[in-house]
């Protein structure tokens, strides 16, 4: 990661809020130089030290594509990164809403593509899930592991599957809590309190969903439904309307 003499290396990030900010903050803290490009516009909350890039810098150590909510924006970003970066630069892409296999079909150098379980709030955990794409080069997978270890994370390598592991479980918990709230089973704060007291969940599913943001939760559920074609993954009406809780910071 230490090439170019730029501390831990140069990370180029494309994507959307609040993922870009979360990753930029973690990369800066780990000593990386960060350049970020938002699609669509955003990034008002970017941490100090992050350069907003109009063009993608070729001398990157690693590139992150952090879009979940728009497949079209994601495809454009991945293609732009794939075109601009030299072949050896690994491309780590948020894959909680779109499988790595789908994304691999959008770019020329699929061997550099590695899926990551990027969902708001999850970077606060001690582990990062990565899913190598079809035909991913060993070097790209190793680089992904090295990148997350530089951020202080353990690694879990999982198969490429819709929603990956934690985003799928978590977004379905958030969804079920919204079904229950919409059906007036209990008040929102009470649902969160019951889940924390009755099951020791670290956060209530409604407050967690608000922190992830309803748009990202919906993107994961939409991806699951698209992949499986099952009613099981339909979005709760309340979540479709914007969620049952205002945005919170966990």
């Amino acid at each position: 990661m230490g090439r170019d003499g730029a501390g831990a290396g140069i990370v180029v990030i494309t994507g959307e809020s609040p993922l870009v900010e979360e990753y930029a903050r973690a990369c800066i803290a780990a000593g990386f130089t960060v350049e970020a490009r938002f699609t669509p516009d955003g990034g008002e909350m970017l941490p100090p030290g992050v350069r907003r890039a109009a063009r993608i810098r070729r001398r990157a150590s690693v590139a992150l594509e952090l879009t979940n909510t728009s497949r079209e924006a994601k495809r454009k970003n991945l293609r732009a990164l794939d075109r601009a970066l030299p072949p050896g630069v690994p491309l780590l892409s948020a894959s909680a809403a779109t499988t790595v296999a789908e994304q691999a079909a959008w770019i020329t150098r699929a061997e550099r593509l590695v899926g990551i379980a990027a969902l708001p709030t999850l970077l606060g955990g001690a582990l990062a899930e990565i899913a190598p794409g079809p035909g991913a080069a060993r070097g790209a997978v190793d680089a992904a592991g090295e990148f997350f270890r530089a951020l202080g994370k353990e690694i879990a390598i999982v198969q490429d599957s819709p929603g990956m592991v934690l985003p799928r479980i978590l977004c379905m918990l958030v969804n079920e809590a919204h079904f229950a709230l919409g059906e007036r089973v209990a008040q929102g704060g009470d649902i969160d309190a019951a889940m924390k007291l009755g099951t020791h969940y670290p956060h209530g599913p409604l407050e967690w969903g608000a922190a992830i943001t309803p748009a990202h939760v919906r993107a994961v559920l939409d991806g699951l439904r698209r992949s499986y074609g099952e009613e099981r993954y339909r979005t709760a009406p309340l979540l479709a309307r914007g969620g049952g809780n205002s945005v919170v910071q966990l």
Binding site: A156, S161, R168, I169, D190, M195, H200, E230, R232
Partner: protein, 278 residues
């Protein structure tokens, strides 16, 4: 707390609730038709009080628990909490019998985790007095009590149940009488999606648990938790919620779990579940 609390059923949950009520200062009438079950329940309470409190305090609390084999002894209770077998016919029979024993105005609570409060109260003459008080296992340690309003439960009954839970040092959460109430419903995807991920080969048991713990900050992964709860118990709750929601696909049980129940690999209690124990 001065209300005399009657408990029907001296199993794990009945004994646990009895212990909590006695520790909160109530006289407890612990009823079970089986003398053996009653003796085991009293032993469990005594053991719980030995580990939980000072010797004198524990002895005083234990002295407040009165085992009774005759249901008629529950006449002195101001609140009765039923913690018998999870079977609607059994519970309905108990509640009808209780009506003939207790004084008017006695709150009749059920600790059911999966049955309808409305259905349990429907055959009684006083459905307004019937309420769900769903304690979590182990009752002495878990703070949550879901206070479940059946379609005919009165406001006064809800308030008395809530107040009793508070007196017991618990956190009461009010909820509607819907399948799984809050926790057993909202938690279903934690297990269901983990089982699907396993079935699809996305990751193994240990890897999924490690991800959920370390990436998500959960205290236990889904497979560790199923082993602790009992795979048969977890499967029964899933089936019950699935059936009561008329086969809503979100709650569909998974064949892996069914197969494990058939094989008798039920988790910690059998020494083998998703993990080997002991």
């Amino acid at each position: 707390m001065t209300t005399t609390v009657g408990i029907v059923g001296a199993g794990t949950m009945g004994a646990g609730i009895a212990q909590v009520a006695a520790q909160a200062g109530s006289d407890v009438l612990l009823h079970d038709e089986s003398g053996q079950a009653l003796a085991r329940g009293m032993e469990r309470i005594a053991a719980g009080l030995r580990t939980g409190r000072g010797e004198t305090e524990g002895a005083e609390a234990l002295a407040r628990v009165h085992p009774c084999r005759a249901a008629g002894d529950l006449a002195a209770a101001g609140v009765v909490i039923e913690a018998a077998f999870e079977d609607l016919a059994v519970k309905r029979e108990i509640f009808r019998a209780l009506e003939g024993i207790v004084r008017p105005g006695t709150v009749l609570a059920t600790n059911t985790s999966s049955l309808s409060i409305t259905a349990i109260g429907a055959l009684t003459r006083t459905p307004g007095a019937v309420v769900g008080m769903h304690f979590f296992n182990p009752a002495p340690r878990m703070k949550l009590v879901e206070i479940v309003r059946g379609s005919r439960t009165s406001d006064e009954t809800m308030e008395r149940a809530r107040s009793l839970a508070l007196d017991m040092g618990k956190t009461p959460i009010l909820c509607a009488d819907t399948p799984g109430f809050i926790v057993n419903r909202v938690a279903r995807p934690f297990y269901g999606e983990a089982l699907r991920l396993l079935g699809e080969g996305a990751a193994g048991v240990e890897e999924i648990d490690r991800i959920v713990r370390l990436e998500g900050g959960f205290r236990m992964g889904p497979f560790e938790l199923m082993d602790l709860i009992g795979i048969d118990v977890n499967y029964a709750v899933t089936k019950s919620v699935y059936e009561r929601f008329f086969h809503e696909p979100r709650f569909r049980p998974h064949p892996i779990q069914e197969r494990m129940v058939e094989a008798g690999t039920l988790g910690r209690k059998t020494g083998r579940g998703f993990y080997r124990h002991g």
